[in-house]
Symmetry: C2
Subunit: 184 residues, 2 copies
DNA sequence: TTATTTATTGAACGTTCATTATAATAAACC
DNA sequence: GGTTTATTATAATGAACGTTCAATAAATAA
């Protein structure tokens, strides 16, 4: 057995396809073709397309928070924190892709269809906000700065779909630089 | 013949359904059922689902810019402009719905599939940015403030999908209040 | 009033969808 | 060596997809 199991290859390939084209747009067959496996190989590991999506989202959340973790400066006040948070997020996007947020997309496509998927996506954003707010306490910035930072990150993700990343980053850094520690 | 033609009813109903569930998720049949017409009634007015989408997006763009136009204060500097722009945008969202940006969604779902739709969506954002930048010139704010404002609007649209609108608005107004006219 | 165009109908088309059935092997594990 | 675990290929399932057929009703024009 080589380094990556077939289950992992399916997860990776499907995640990429879903991110590029959307969940409903990507058929099971196109995943199977891309991976090069028979239908039953997929259905052996995941009992449906939607279960596969759930696993993809859970994995992705861990990977994203892990990635942010590494780059963030928590020891030099709001300005440094905000700057490194934005930098970490744009670094993620540069390797992951510029097609918007997969969680928001999942929520849009599965709200009213599969509530587990929709809930996972909403919880992901809530978790992000809570993580940020918790760290803001360290240098006693107000909780409201947390909402602002989440909003800036989401603004980055959205605008990067239609603008040059360089322009997006510049604007984001400038917004962050003007934030006030007491946020009022 | 009553006030609204069947073509208009199809456009309105389809736009709502697409906005609620996404383009690929909404089948032609579900539009027809909701409107209460036979397939050929739709195909008489639009020669395909994708043509229908194109018309919906064009109409929506006019409606949105028209809506913004009415509420914006262009005569009292950057702070007043930014505040009324944000207010106009959130007012639009409150009546239109909190499911993200239909143009970005169209771009995501049709990039590589139907380039007319994808292009329309990208152009919509470019137009929005240009309109804002042109108005910023009036009170000689830098062009960079335009990118920042677009980013704030997109941040609002995204975060409103997972947060209370009240919290979203508060954060947006605070970010805008801290913007500098020379943006440096 | 008839002729013609415009608008609409219900049923059906061929295709693709996610999923399962079947049956035969491989590979990994004990 | 026997048993579980993982995979292959092919085909079939029923449902949903976007679209078209052929017929007709309604509106318009002569």
């Amino acid at each position: 057995m080589r380094g990556v199991s077939k289950k992992e290859v399916i997860l990776n390939t499907a995640e990429n396809l879903f991110y590029q084209h959307g969940f409903h747009a990507v058929g099971v067959k196109s995943i199977l073709n891309e991976v090069g496996v028979a239908p039953m190989t997929m259905y052996y590991h995941f009992h449906s397309k939607e279960t596969l999506i759930v696993e993809i989202l859970k994995r992705r959340e861990l990977r994203y928070f892990d990635f942010l973790q590494k780059e963030i400066d928590r020891d030099n006040g709001l300005a440094a924190y905000a700057e490194t948070l934005i930098k970490a997020h744009t670094d993620w996007m540069k390797t992951d892709g510029l097609n918007g947020c997969l969680f928001l997309r999942a929520k849009q496509e599965y709200e009213g269809v599969n509530e587990e998927i929709a809930a996972l996506s909403k919880e992901h954003k809530k978790t992000l906000q809570q993580k940020i707010e918790q760290e803001l306490k360290t240098f006693n910035s107000s909780k409201q700065a947390g909402t602002q930072l989440v909003m800036i990150l989401e603004g980055i993700t959205s605008t990067a779909q239609v603008m040059a990343m360089e322009e997006v980053e510049e604007a984001a850094f400038r917004i962050a630089k003007n934030m006030r520690a007491d946020s009022q």
